[in-house]
Symmetry: C2
Subunit: 464 residues, 2 copies
């Protein structure tokens, strides 16, 4: 069998009567597998790939995928000439095929359709496909990520990702937010420079890949009231954990005249909306992923709110009870085991607020009743998934912000434009950021963040 | 008057009876200016900034903006004590204010609301605002981009941008496409390396900022059938034109089992949908921009399709008629004046297809009837806006693609994964890319692309 190339070419066609080699164009009307229910009993043409073939001796079962779904095609041996049967048996996994047949509802599984195959056109016979139903190592699969994406499981994850991103945008768009994209190439670092990717900007100067659009968001929120940015962000962290990517997508809303409580309420409304939308539209995908959807159904407002001080007490009590290994000292940031313990006390995301100012970024507003605390919040996902949202209220006072920049040893000149926002009509304002991949990991119930983005970038992974 | 900082503080309140300094929290219910029509005759609180103030001697007119719109507040002198009147007169442009009053429809302009001001709280008195109603130079405005964004014109442009991006996503989401984000950090260049930004990837190797997600899209389309990516892309071009940004957003759909004609049809459906959506929802913004909307109303399918050969004849005829300065030789790529002339012959976007293969990228499918032509298309926007979409059918044959990679002196090892897509079930497939900022420039009728993104990045512009 020869490769097919170009728009109209010799391709092999297997019909119920014959095998013929013919010149055909392949622009005939395509029916997507997701639509076959509406065409039961009619002749349809599906353009896709062979996902799997098996034969019972009398029947051949051809699993065909086209990106929209998978359908089982059935070819009875006694209905076709020997040559057709034999040739069909040589079709390899991932060969591209155009299959014409009649969809028929499965007699015992309502809603499931099978295809009585009438004709198969072979577009290209695939070489021996490297990913087989047997188990493969993770590194092998990651090296073949461009092909691994063709599996049922990856389809399910990417569709949930799609749904989450759509829900995120719908939530903000329908809530009066204006999308204001912030730049990837930035002259200054938001929070230190050790975890920044450096870019040569026309030989003149260094640029850095953004870690967060927040500082820019504060400018657009002062212009447009309620804004959000949503794009890739970068962290050159030398972390090889199941929660780290060097390139990940983040959505960051920012609201003028909002305070910490307002964004906590926004975060719980937002996260609930996103999770419920996935439950509404992606039941099939969650089933493929064997996700316990009851746990997701519980994600509705209000979420528990826990002051950092009380979270520390909870950890210390956990230590006393022998449930937390190390004694947690007030003033530190939570590690993954701490977050897991805290979030394990709740069946909803928990909003931990008012961390010590010293462990938080320079731009955090201080608590007016306790200046050692920052008006910030981290939202910890349940089931041990840890932080998925971080945010808070931003420093409003020009003078205090200048002091903070000095205390953090940041170059003031890089922040003059940011300081301008406090010179010209400063207002209380607040916002947060949510990492999409961590959210997808949690909603899908995955062990590792690497499968939540089509082409993950990690410490040792820049390919394919 | 003192700055206000923190969540609850001393702020100056001007009421109709007095000036008092009081401790208030500013979390009272906020009504956005965009919503006042529903609250005519009621007392509402608007939280925003002073856009402009003028006084007639007896009446003070305070233009207040809150990001959702602008409303004129009216304060009669004889209704307030002298001290209130005088203090109100000292409020500076962009001071942050919380204004309580009663919206009232303008007696002569139905649909326009004014606010009878009852009380003004000053949140912060702005320092002398650098951007005044007088004319400023472009560089000055670009240096103050974080503040310039507060103007009516920039609001209108950013809202049209928001609408375009939303329409783009709705179009593809509702058409069965799956969003599959492609990476920004890439190991190899799509089309040559001279215009690439280089990134140090953990000292081990070089990464490059993506110029297009297309190669990755081809993998995701083979997995999911119909996909799109939509994110920032980068070109380190040393071009200082009104059409170039170094960082811009691009949407790129890719369809398996699609050919050139299919994506031309997709492009015209897509572009029409986007333009009509802006016309539906952003009339007010287009009015601010003084856009001739009749020209946009004409953007409906079908679009004229013009083979490159015929476009060349058109240019040569134009030259003979004295309307095109230089004689255009078959085989070259169109320059801006050529595109302007061609698109000037039509009142809709024109789809120029089948360019010479030699001036196009290595991955373009060849025309089966003329192997010197590529199955590609550029969509040129009307009114001289030039190319906004580029796309075409991708090389399907493994062997031909290998030859092309060699002819273009590209390192084959970098493309092994891409070649895999032709080893394992190669199918005809096609797609295109549209630059968002060029689309916004056209739809808004702007002279320069720099205003179409909140923080533009150009050859000499990395700040703010």
């Amino acid at each position: 069998m020869a490769n097919a190339g170009g728009t109209s070419t010799f391709i092999i066609i297997l019909t119920r009567d014959s095998v013929r080699t013919d010149r055909r164009t392949i622009t005939m009307k395509q029916t997507y597998i997701s639509e076959v229910a509406a065409h039961a009993g009619e002749s349809v043409t599906i353009k896709g790939w062979l996902y799997n073939v098996r034969s019972s001796g009398k029947l051949m079962f051809l699993e065909i995928r086209d990106g929209s779904g998978i359908i089982q095609g059935i070819l009875p041996k006694n209905a076709v000439p020997e040559a057709v049967w034999e040739l069909a048996g040589t079709l390899t996994q991932e060969s591209s095929v155009i299959v014409t047949g009649t969809p028929r509802e499965h007699p015992k599984r309502p809603g499931t359709f099978e295809l009585d195959v009438a004709e198969i056109e072979l577009v290209q016979l695939a070489q021996e496909y490297p990913i087989t139903p047997k188990e493969h190592g993770v590194e092998f699969l990651m090296d073949h990520r461009h092909l691994w994406l063709r599996s049922k499981r990856q389809h399910a994850i990417l569709r949930v990702r799609h749904e989450i991103i759509r829900a995120v945008r719908d939530f903000f768009d329908n809530d009066g937010f204006i999308l204001a994209d912030t730049p990837v190439l930035t002259p200054a670092a938001c929070e230190g420079t050790t975890t920044l990717f450096e870019v040569d900007y026309f030989g003149d100067e260094k640029a850095f890949l953004t870690q967060s659009g927040q500082l820019y968001n504060e400018a657009t929120a002062a212009a447009l009231g309620k804004t959000y940015c949503f794009g890739p962000t970068f962290r050159a962290e030398k972390s090889k954990t199941r929660r780290h990517l060097t390139e990940f997508w983040m959505v960051e809303p920012e609201v003028a005249y909002a305070e910490l409580d307002d964004v906590m309420t926004l975060a719980e409304r937002f996260l609930s909306f996103v999770v419920q939308r996935v439950l509404e539209n992606r039941q099939e995908e969650l089933k493929v992923l064997e996700r316990d959807t009851a746990k997701l159904a519980a994600i509705v407002p209000p979420f528990p709110r826990l002051q950092y001080d009380d979270a520390v007490k909870m950890l210390q009590q956990g230590h006393a009870d022998g449930k937390v290994e190390n004694f947690f000292e007030w003033g530190g940031d939570f590690g993954a085991p701490d977050e897991t313990f805290i979030s394990g006390q709740f069946d909803k995301p928990v909003m931990v607020h008012r961390y010590p100012a010293q462990i938080k970024a320079f731009y955090m507003e201080e608590d007016p009743t306790r200046s050692d605390l920052a008006l910030c919040v981290d939202v910890l996902a349940p089931e041990g998934y840890g932080e998925i949202i971080g945010g808070g209220q931003r420093m409003q006072s020009y003078d205090k912000l200048i002091s903070r920049i000095a205390e953090h040893h940041l170059p003031r000149e890089a922040f003059e434009w940011y300081l301008d926002l406090r010179k010209y009509g400063s207002v209380p304002h607040a916002g947060f950021g949510m990492g999409i991949e961590r959210c997808v990991t949690w909603v899908c119930g995955l062990d590792h963040v690497r499968e939540t983005i089509p082409f993950p970038r990690m410490l040792n992974r820049l390919r394919p």
